[in-house]
Symmetry: D5
Subunit: 96 residues, 10 copies
């Protein structure tokens, strides 16, 4: 089942560069593992921002919550979730 | 080049059912043709709404404008556009 | 799977009283049938408004969309959806 | 009498992990006690967020205020309250 | 029990002057009867607007809904409700 | 002359409990003195919040400013002011 | 006593040009008479808009309401009111 | 002197296609004449919208108002104005 | 040329009382000097707030920027600017 | 390809004057180099603010992201991006 998730990162201005680098590295590994598992289906940067647009493919609401709340950057992000479903005009078989 | 587009349809309450059906049919044909050409890469319904989330793959800003402003439902939609680019943590080769 | 849905009704000021009564009666029958099926689990009026707060229990995002978009008042409502899941502090066995 | 309450937790970024864990544990015990008393009737997590949707069943506005302002996380939450009442289309006897 | 209610009137621009005068007269009689019963405790005009601030004193959420939804101007108003209770610094015995 | 004032308290998360208690005690004494003088006519807690709704009865805009800006919690509050006047449907002689 | 008032005119798109011209002429006469009386102290156009910024000098909230609600364009304007008083840094004797 | 102006066109849904075409043609001629005079220095379409971003080079606020309020589409546009001036980091001689 | 400027002061909660007093004194001297020069034409306090409404009379956008950005409180204010011009209904010769 | 970018600078109130001066100097050099390369086509100050309006001329969304995220002030700015294209009423050959 698909979910549309927008994440905007807001790091506290007094976080040290080392700590920020560390969190970002952990986040990257976490995101890439989920992509390889097929759960984080799309991940795009919004140009000109520190934000992304993502599409997750998970079992249900509970798994979405588990994944999102486990993100290393979770405490520092504004997150908006929209549940998705097949659009009646869609022609792609593999997009829902 | 990818663009993230959200469209929310707001038909005037006094539009006749016939006129609405006609526009929707034209919109569907238009959307499916663009999907087949590869320009309308993703099209999802936002569950519980008369809205969609789409990703377009076009040459440039001008082609995006040409396609969006040509939508039969264009006069009746609220539309938000975000330019996308590759996310540094993305692992998919075909997603940018 | 549970979804939290808020619906605010905005009937066009020039809709006739007969047409309004007709739609509301159809809406009521539709809502009661879905409650009896267990799909519309909770339905409350927000005091001092023409709005409700509801909880739906459906198979997935697609069924939510099917039910919501089938509401007779759908064209006349502002609707906000939030996917729900079990809260780690919940003690109720039958509430997720 | 029922009230719909949405709570979004915003912990200060410089709160220590120990202090956060301590508050959360107290909050959990407080929430579970109120659920057992029947005053905190529903408690759901909003998927993909650090927020909940709750329904309280209390005597009056004053008891709602007493309970909400007593939450250990109260100073760190954005809270929105809506008074609820029975919906004319509701079929459940025990839901108001 | 007290509720704070703000009402802003937005009459459709094409409502006839006769119809508007008729509704306003009915509204006035309705409001004055409720004030005499003690249920509409305060009613003030917000200076420079077609809006009021009111305080209702009713049994519960259900009675508030019954009264508000029965207002002749109800279909033409934006309404915001806040449940009130005694403030710990209040010195008035008759104000809660 | 009456003014409607909403105040929402936002204490800095790093204010010490002692300092907070001290300010709140001063605020309470100040608020009670003004109530006794008849200048702070109504003071209600908004249930489920750290906010109040108040009605002030003062000479003019200047006295309102003097009183509000003298509140011990003034630097820590979001404040919204609305000038009030008699509503044409009001039946109370002592409410304007 | 001074009040700051912003007015934005939103004429219904289907109002006839004759009717609009008639209202505007009445509004102009009304505004000029109030300026001559000294009650409408300042009246500026916000450049690039159909809006004005005004300062009224009236007895009290009630007179402000009487004047504003008597504006011929009152049903077609969004209006925001702010009560003003002397600024402690002001050097003008005649500006409060 | 430069001004940044954003215009979003919102034609009434019941305006006839002929009337719309007529206004747009007049608007185009008006806009092109002002560009040739050097007063409408930049005019861009915001991709995916019926909106533009413009920069005007006029004598003063009054001339800006005269030009904007004279736009044939003026009654059907949302308009936001920002006064501009030279940026201390600008290297262009002809851009202020 | 006139500009309407609203300024809302938001001092950081951890600024020392000495530092705050110092900035305010400098701000006051600066504001009074500009008023004496005729450039800061009006300065009013918004009653019940730490905000002002001002009207500046300066040469052009650049001088406005120079004055505003030179305010000692500039880093601690939310500022909104509107360019003004003569209103066609104004009767004052000296107010534009 | 053109992009419209608005940037509002919000420096943390506890950043030292030295650090702020350092970042601003780096930002200025960066901005001027990009202007000389023709990539930062326009850069204007919004009068009365610590904000700018800019137009970038870059290859694609990815280059825009590279440039914007490389700004020394990037962590301290609110940034809004709009993709631009040629307006059908534009008469300038070199403005798209």
């Amino acid at each position: 089942m698909l979910y549309h998730v927008e994440m905007t990162v807001k790091l506290p201005p007094d976080m040290s560069a080392e700590r920020a680098a560390e969190i970002k590295a952990t986040e990257k590994a976490y995101a890439q593992e989920l992509q390889r598992q097929g759960k984080w289906r799309h991940l795009w940067r919004v140009a000109g921002s520190y934000a992304n647009v993502s599409v997750f493919d998970v079992e249900d609401n509970a798994e979405l919550q588990e994944i999102i709340s486990g993100l290393p950057l979770f405490p520092y992000m504004e997150i908006r979730v929209k549940p998705l479903c097949r659009h009646p005009s869609s022609v792609r078989d593999d997009d829902s």
